[in-house]
């Protein structure tokens, strides 16, 4: 099958590549670009381990073709920190023990970034609703919610 040329800006760096049409965005990020912070969990757009930001809104990168990201700006967990300084949401997850095994964490943080952009001062209930597309199989939700609320406060929501 003919490969398709794409140009994707990931974490500020522009990449040109030729991909098979069936290549998933998550495979492009992990295997072609080596950005393995984004995880593949359920691979059926339910668990949210693969959430990245594309053109300013979150997407499950296991349910997006790399060709659909042509021309897009993508931010992965590797691009969230600012020159080595952790993002306030990352700090809050650290401080509040918002992760156990860590597998869901990248997705949780990417979704939280958007959640706090859309609603800078959410209630705990709104955080829970906002994270409905991210599953934590350690079931560490209590501290994840706590982390997002702490981040909101830190970010001056």
């Amino acid at each position: 099958m003919a490969k398709i040329p794409i140009q994707v800006t990931v974490n500020g760096q522009t990449h040109q590549a030729e991909v098979e049409p069936r290549t998933l965005l998550v495979h492009f990020l992990r295997e072609d670009l080596g950005l393995t912070g984004t995880k593949i969990g359920c691979d059926t757009s339910q668990c949210g381990a693969c959430v990245v930001m594309m053109n300013g809104s979150t997407v499950k990168s296991c349910t997006c073709l790399a060709v659909q990201a042509d021309g897009a700006e993508v931010t992965t967990i590797e691009g969230v920190a600012d020159q080595g300084n952790l993002h306030p949401i990352q700090e809050a997850f650290w401080d509040n023990h918002g992760l156990q095994c860590g597998y869901c964490t990248a997705g949780m943080i990417m979704t939280s970034v958007e959640l706090l952009q859309r609603n800078p001062n959410p209630t705990a209930e709104q955080v829970r609703a906002g994270l409905e597309g991210n599953l934590c199989r350690c079931t560490g939700y209590q501290n994840i919610v706590k982390s997002v609320l702490a981040a909101a406060e830190r970010m001056g929501g």
Binding site: R22, V51, S57, T58, K60, T63, G133
Partner: protein
Amino acid sequence: MFAPEFEYHRANTVAEAIDLLSSNPGAKVMAGGHSLIPLLKLRLARPGVVVDIGGVAEMKGITIADGNIRIGALTTHWEIESSSQVAEANSLLAEAAGGIGDTQVRNRGTIGGNLSHADPASDWGTVLTALNATLEIRGPGGATRTASPTDFIVGPLTTTLGETEILTAVNVPVLAANQRAEYAKMAHPASGYAVVGAAVVVNVDGHTCTGASLAVGGAVPAPVRLTSVENALTGKELTFENIEAATAQADNDLGGEILGDFFASAEYRRAMAAVETKHALFHATEVAHH
């Protein structure tokens, strides 16, 4: 999971997309990809060609004018959910959009893709049936036609859309001041999909129902109008007892085939169709809260 191999074409206009469909028989259209990509990965669909219409600008956006809300087929659920103009013009649209899937699904999934995929557990088919929406469809040579949601969706994953046609927009009337609308769904706890969904639009004069448009989905292969319930309710005072008596007739309108699976049997869904309709009516008319 990898999808099977397919050839990929990107269309920039509706006309281009229709040309691509005409020259590639059996091709599948992809909007946000949230129905098609899972099907491809599970190999439930194996098209030789995928036509990506995600970038067709003329199919995006919401225009509200002259009592009509025109939603481009590529408008995402999130765009509908978050539009304050939509919420003001038709609260049911915003409410239904916000209940679909999860944040990421709503960010990428489109109203047109959802309708064209025609999953019986989808919310839009039911809600747009109750709202008397009109779908705009484009075909080869600039041909256009319109269809009601029930003319369009005929069964699970089956629509009357031709191989070379594309759903381009959805038109929904602005709710009138005397109309109350609500959607009640029993959502599957994992997927959020409607096991049973009931959408109601009620015309009121004081406490009297002067007309109603009610639809059920999820439990049935394609959304159905509850005409028996509508007739039973029209002209009646909107009381707890009258709503309960009217919705008891929902069974008459569900048709011969009720869906059932290991999660919810057909018998159970049949019973819940009446219950969800009742709940939607209670909420819409503020007679009671469930």
